[in-house]
C-alpha cells in the first residue's frame, strides 16, 4: 500500500514540476510574503509587539486567501484529468485502491504546498529577524502559522479532489473550484458580517455566528492564529468579531476539516463510474 501511494506521489510531483506548479506556488508565496513584510513594517512601535509577530498577523490574513487558492489550483484536475485522458478506467484495473490514489496525490500536493509555505514564510521571517533582533520572540507564532496553513491547504486539496470527481471534466471542476473559493473565502465572511450588522446583537450574533465561523475552515484558521497570538485587537472584520471563540474549538475545526474533506473526496471518487 505504501509503495503504491509513494508511486502515485512521485508521478504527481513529476507532473507538477513540469507544469510549473511548484514554481508558481513558491513564487506566489514568496512575492506576497515579501510585499507584506515590507508594508507591515510601519505600525511596529504602536503595538508593542515584535516585528515577526506583526508579520505573522499580516501573513495570516494573506494565507486565508492564498493557501486555499493554490490548493484548489493544484487539485481540480486530479480526477477529471484522468477521465479526460481516458486513463481512469485503466488506473482502476490496476491493483490499487481509489483511496490510495487520492492519498498519493495528497502527499505530492501537500509536499509542494509545504515547500511554498516554507519559502514564503521563511523569507518574511528572515527579513523580520534581520531588521529587529527582538523578532525571535515571534517564532512560536510563525511555527503555528506554518502547520495550520498545511492543515488549511490539505482541507482545500481534499475539497478540490471531491469537486474534480463530481465534475468529471477539468473545465467544470475549475469552475466549481473558483466558485468554492469565492464562496468560502470571500463571500462567506461578507455575508456573516452583513448579518451581524443587521442583527445588531441579537440571537444570530450570539448563537449562530460563532458556529458559522467554526464551520468554515478558512475562518477557523484565521481566528485560531489571531487568538493564539492575542492579535485579535489588531485584526479587523470577522477576526475582530470573533475574539470570544475558545482556542480549542477553532483548533478542533482546523484538525477535523482535512479529514472531512478527504472523506468527501473519497466518497465522490468511489461514486465516479469509469
Amino acid at each position: 500500500m505504501i509503495e503504491r501511494i509513494y508511486a502515485t506521489a512521485v508521478t504527481e510531483i513529476h507532473i507538477a514540476r513540469r507544469n510549473r506548479w511548484v514554481l508558481i506556488a513558491v513564487v506566489l508565496m514568496v512575492v506576497f510574503s515579501l510585499v507584506l513584510s515590507a508594508v507591515g513594517s510601519a505600525p511596529v512601535g504602536g503595538l508593542g509587539a515584535d516585528r515577526l509577530s506583526v508579520t505573522v498577523a499580516s501573513l495570516t490574513s494573506l494565507s486565508v486567501y492564498l493557501v486555499p487558492l493554490v490548493a484548489l489550483l493544484m487539485s481540480f484536475d486530479a480526477v477529471a484529468g484522468e477521465v479526460e485522458r481516458g486513463t481512469l478506467p485503466l488506473l482502476l484495473t490496476y491493483p490499487v485502491g481509489r483511496g490510495e490514489v487520492l492519498l498519493g496525490k495528497l502527499l505530492a500536493h501537500s509536499t509542494i504546498l509545504i515547500i511554498a509555505l516554507v519559502a514564503g514564510y521563511g523569507a518574511a521571517a528572515l527579513i523580520a529577524v534581520a531588521t529587529d533582533p527582538a523578532a525571535v520572540a515571534g517564532f512560536g507564532a510563525l511555527w503555528r502559522l506554518t502547520w495550520t496553513s498545511v492543515l488549511l491547504g490539505a482541507t482545500f486539496l481534499g475539497i478540490g479532489y471531491a469537486l474534480s470527481a463530481l465534475a468529471r471534466r477539468a473545465s467544470g471542476a475549475a469552475g466549481l473550484a473558483i466558485g468554492v473559493w469565492l464562496g468560502l473565502v470571500v463571500l462567506y465572511d461578507l455575508a456573516l458580517l452583513a448579518a451581524v450588522v443587521a442583527d445588531d446583537g441579537g440571537i444570530f450574533t450570539t448563537q449562530v455566528f460563532p458556529t458559522a465561523l467554526l464551520a468554515n475552515p478558512a475562518d477557523a484558521f484565521r481566528i485560531f492564529n489571531l487568538t493564539a497570538s492575542q492579535a485579535t485587537a489588531a485584526a479587523s472584520g470577522v477576526g475582530a468579531a470573533a475574539g470570544a471563540l475558545p482556542l480549542w474549538q477553532t483548533l478542533l475545526s482546523l484538525c477535523l476539516w482535512p479529514l472531512a474533506a478527504l472523506g468527501l473526496a473519497t466518497l465522490a471518487f468511489r461514486r465516479a463510474e469509469p
Partner: protein, 298 residues
Amino acid sequence: MTPTLDIANLTKTFDGVKALSDVSLSVSRGERVALLGHNGAGKSTLMKIILGLIPADAGRIDVCGSAPGGPAARAKVAYLPENATFHSALTGLEQIAFYMRLRGESPKGAMALLERVGLAHAARRRIGTYSKGMRQRVGLAQALIGHPSLLVLDEPTSGLDPVSRRDFYELLDGLAAEGAAILLSSHALTEVEARTDRLLILSGGQMVAEGTLNALRRKAALPVAIQVSAINGYDVDLLRAFPDAIKLGNTVRLTCTQDDKLDTLAQVAALRDKVADIDVIPPSLEEIYAHFSRRSGQ
C-alpha cells in the same frame, strides 16, 4: 482445463437501451480472439464488464477463476483502453515506471518494455510530443507488465500504421505462445484477419457469429465472382454461354455460389480457345463482416 475467460448469458442495459444481450464467450490459454463490431456494437462495454469497471445486469463471468475486478483478477488481467492518451507532461519511461510500481514490479524493467514496443528511442521524451501511434504503444507496453494471464485490448491497432500493426501482431503471437489469453476488439475485419485464432462478431449487443475466418466464410456462403477476359471479339460468345453474366469493360463477370464454383470454372474452361484469362474473386473480408453484422437487423 477451464478457459481463462468464461462468460455466459451476459446482459447489460443502459437507461433502457440494451448494450449487450445474452452474450456468451470464452477464451482459453494461448488463444487470440478478435471481437468485431461496428461503433456502438457493445465491444467496449463488454470489456469494461470483464474488467469489473462496470457491473453486468445478468449473466455469469469468470476471469482467471475469480470474479471480475477483484484483487485476484486485477493481478492477472491487463487492459488497454480505447483512446488512452496519458499525461502529456510525463515521459514514456516515467509513465511505464509508475504502472510497474503499481503492480509491485521493479521500475528498472521499464526501458526493456518500451524497447519491446519500439519506443526506446523516445523513452525520455514527454508523451505530449508523441504521435497517436506512439501513445498507443505506451498503452501496449503497460499491458505487458508482469506477464498477465489475460489481455483485454480495446481497439489496439487503431492509429497504428501497417508496419506497426504487423509488429503488434508479432508481439501477440509471442504472448499467446507463452500462454496468455488475448481478447482484442476491432471495428474492421481487415485489421485482424489471419492473425487471430477465432473471430466473434458483435452486432447491436448480440453475438451474431463465431468461428475461424474460414468457418465464417463457409457459413456466410456469399457468391464468388469469376472475371473472364475474352480473346478479342469473343466476348459475345461468352455472354451467350452465360446469360446472367455482365460485361465490365473488356471483361465478363460471372457470379456463382461456393458449391457451383468448380462447375462454372469447368464451363469457362470448355471455351478455352476464346478465353484469354480468368480471375476468381472470393468474397472480401468486408463483405463477410457486413453479412454477419447486418443480419441482426442493424
